[in-house]
Symmetry: C2
Subunit: 150 residues, 2 copies
Amino acid sequence: MRYSHKLSDAVHILAYIEIYHDDSLSSTAIAASVESNPALVRRLMVALRQAHLLTTQQGTSQPRLTRSPSDVTLLDIYRAVEDEPNLLHVDDKTNPLCIVGGNIQATLREAYQEVQHAAETQMAQITLERLITQIWTRQRQREAADQAEN
Amino acid sequence: MRYSHKLSDAVHILAYIEIYHDDSLSSTAIAASVESNPALVRRLMVALRQAHLLTTQQGTSQPRLTRSPSDVTLLDIYRAVEDEPNLLHVDDKTNPLCIVGGNIQATLREAYQEVQHAAETQMAQITLERLITQIWTRQRQREAADQAEN
DNA sequence: AAAGATGTAACAATACGAGTAACAACTAGA
DNA sequence: TCTAGTTGTTACTCGTATTGTTACATCTTT
């Protein structure tokens, strides 16, 4: 399985907008935090906007979250940015004349659906608020560690 | 997310070996059912062999399952063939000087781990025996449907 | 008007899965 | 023993998806 960072970067963007809501929220500034480029940020923000997770206004560097972070879950973000909703994928090119090839697709689809449901149930329990809280907690821990070092 | 068929094809191979254990089990025959090529089948069989899910003997087209299908789960097969064990992936290239960039990696790693655990728990409950049973059930249903049609 | 930002598209670079081919080593049967 | 068929393994190519890069029309603010 190849790996994309869409979900991680989307969470990053939302958390950035929430944490730095008083600073510049230009795609360039956000891209600097993601260590990526403004176009990627804007592309992801299109998906987040279509999912009604944030609002933007052309020309103004002022994206805003439309929902409370306590009301946004990892599942919402996942569905917003991942155009392929499934974590596991059935090989849809098997020999229909074979007992295995003719029946394994539907069988695996059902099994994968159970795995998907378990994963999504867990994703639905992880709120953006919790993630932001943990980011702050880790930040304070790092600052305390830096203090102790000096 | 890009998608591979390694897991599906590996399940296919194991089910094929179990169901057609009295027929030819050459990589060419299996590849015909997967509608793939013998090299792919052999590559996957290497991983399955290293995970002690089957035994092979060079030159003989007689792979054998080493465990009872009731004792092999989707998780076993998943871990055998997927070299990247994680379904979700953290962007490990973020700006450490930013509150978000400096703390989101560890935060997401923890969250993703919970999702991974939920998915793997479900995978561990799906046995190869169950999958094979369902393949047979669907086969009988198809045969009955074909009968009714004529 | 000018500067800076977004929205969007086109293209290149990159990475990875999968297909293909080739060949040494091994097995089984004539 | 010889031969055909198979596995184990490697190298290369191809197709596809993500990401990086660039460009530019459109919008907002000063």
